[in-house]
Symmetry: none
Subunit: 215 residues, 4 copies
DNA sequence: TATGAATGAGGGTTCATTCAT
DNA sequence: AATGAATGAACCCTCATTCAT
């Protein structure tokens, strides 16, 4: 039950490499948030990460790969949090509501990074763009599932489930994209969620489902 | 009541200047639409406008000013088109529906420019950003009015009118921002509008109003 | 019989552009000669030409285009000088001899540039390389013609004309490539030519032709 | 007559060092041959040699030293192969012919390395260059000897032996330098040798020697 | 008023070289 | 003896901006 020296070394190196990559992506995200995409030069990332420019290219083949990794990190959080948040919930409508709420809270935790997702798209290649679009669809998945559940339970009016789910996703993103507006109105995330639920989610329900939820 | 020579000259010059500025902004918008806002360099704008690079700086102090003017023009179209589109309509709900539809169509006409509004936001100066945000609020105005009208007529459930209007604005923008998604689904603008109306607008109505509209 | 203003302007600009291009290529050649290919950076060319880096890209799309232009200039001289040098000569063997001699003298006038042709090939793209190889074949043309003339006149032993011509070209280049060697031996171009004629050209002749020439 | 422990260690280390150095130079040559001398970076050499980058600097102070060692090895092969190839041959003309033929075949075995000798000349330091030139003269030696032998035997026309030998060397190099040309003509090394012998070697012979050889 | 040649800081990227382990 | 992560100067190229004409 022993590990030989090489394995240890390899493991340590692997961990260090992981760390470096994380460090670089963190620096990139930080820079994007505070300085705005165009200031995110490789030199700036290197400086912010406390490494040399050359090292960036040891861990990422491209500037695009760093951007991609940054966006992936954020979207990954969305993909994971929403299913976890609604795991124990049974009521189909509550599942939709809570999925949306959690999505909004996740967005709130990465507000600048979400904005970045919209902003940085222009620096990406066709493939890179397709990649993050694919990932966005993955974050959409849990929402669609929840909405479909409500639809199957007969709780939804005649609305296209995919579009409705996408609307929820967009309105969650909106909390970040239009934060300047909601902030000016003195709205908190929870208030935002509450109002959007009242405005959009309740509207998609059948009268029966709505009166059940509003009870 | 006479105009002296200098005034005439000044007036002519003013008109010509106006023309030039328009020409430049048009070129910038055209470039954004067809090339995707990356390739919008000063030299490209000059070439597309059929003027010299130097002249750009006679009419605009900055590249930012051209971008700003371009965005202003697009947002201006939104501000103007929506009121015109609902001018003769009496039914409060129809006014909301048609305002949203027209907004979507206007977005469709300037898809890339809308995307640009989101993308370029951080490359703008603080003042430029505030300017655009102010203008966005102006485009929101007509929507808010329409929504308030419906609310006053008792056609709306208990939803916050500003938020609902803002949702409509965002979902109109979404047609541009997520065009890759809707395009992949084979959706046209009109279909998009129709589905969003069914999903979001109808949901905000009272049962009475909804059954009246759906009849 | 007048030239309108625009034409004059255009002509002047054209001339100036020509001048600039020449100036840049000159600087590039000068640099290559004295510093060795790897020191020929765009920055260095710009500095040596007394212009900015950016301007280089107004006249040449690429670094490769500058290199290509430099090599083309040198090879062009070879292509032109040899035919001129043998224009009035009738004797087929004399034509060969004189073509070779002139080629050697041309090489001598551009010694460093010839070396450069061999050296720089590594920086060129596939197309660029093919281009200068094509040009080299053009400089071979006059030699082949002269050799063929001698062959048709029955003055040549049974030697492949193309290969023989190519040998002459290579031995002319050799004056530049191995100048360090011949220089150490105290050889002048004329002596070099004379000895190579004796060694290689005379050897390719029939006995009759040789005794005729040696008379 | 004993060897103490330290001596043994030193000897072993010396042998291992030799091996390492050889391994590195081999890798460098292999890279030059297959990748064309551009991609010969230190990291590439290390990878190809199966050692770390750092180790390169334990055995060579410089990248130049590796290049130099590689070129030295190739030129060394030329120096050794030619004498071996003509060892048992008695006829003076055959010795010249066979020396040239073997030289060409040796060049063929190291085509890219020969090209490199020409290309890299200027990136070498003054001493490095002088070193290589000295080595080239050593490879010339056997050719000169063979040519002198033929001259002493009275088989040569009145041609300068050194120059003639140098021509043979250059024309052997030419097989590498102008391989693109001969390859396009569908020539093999053996055909190249045969034609060059007919064109250049036979031409340097007296009538008597030529008719003897051609018999 | 209008031009466009000219600038040069700054972008992304490579690679010979070093050094802690 | 050996590693390879780390460095950073230098590379090629772009583009917002200026200015002599």
């Amino acid at each position: 039950m022993s590990i030989d020296g090489n394995d240890v070394t390899a493991a340590v190196q692997g961990a260090r490499a992981e760390l470096r990559a994380r460090q670089i992506v963190d620096a990139a995200i930080a820079l994007m948030q505070e300085k705005g995409s165009n200031a995110v030069s490789m030199q700036a990332i290197a400086k912010s990460a406390g490494v040399s420019v050359g090292l960036l290219y040891k861990y990422f083949s491209d500037k695009e790969q760093i951007l991609l990794a940054a966006i992936t990190r954020v979207l990954g959080a969305f993909r994971d949090r929403v299913p976890q948040a609604i795991e124990g919930i049974d009521d189909p409508v509550d599942r939709v509501t809570e999925a949306f709420a959690e999505f909004c809270r996740a967005v709130d935790d990465h507000r600048h990074a979400v904005v970045l997702t919209y902003r940085e798209s222009r620096s990406l290649s066709r493939e890179g763009l397709a990649d993050i679009q694919g990932q966005e669809l993955e974050t959409l998945g849990p929402l669609v599932d929840a909405v479909r559940g409500a639809a199957d339970a007969g709780d939804l009016r005649d609305v296209p489930p995919e579009l409705f789910a996408y609307d929820l996703l967009v309105l969650a993103h909106t909390w970040a994209l239009k934060h300047w507006y909601f902030h000016a109105q003195g709205l908190s995330v929870d208030q935002y969620v509450e109002q959007q639920v009242r405005t959009v989610v309740l509207g998609a329900l059948t009268d029966a489902a709505r009166s059940r939820v509003e009870r």
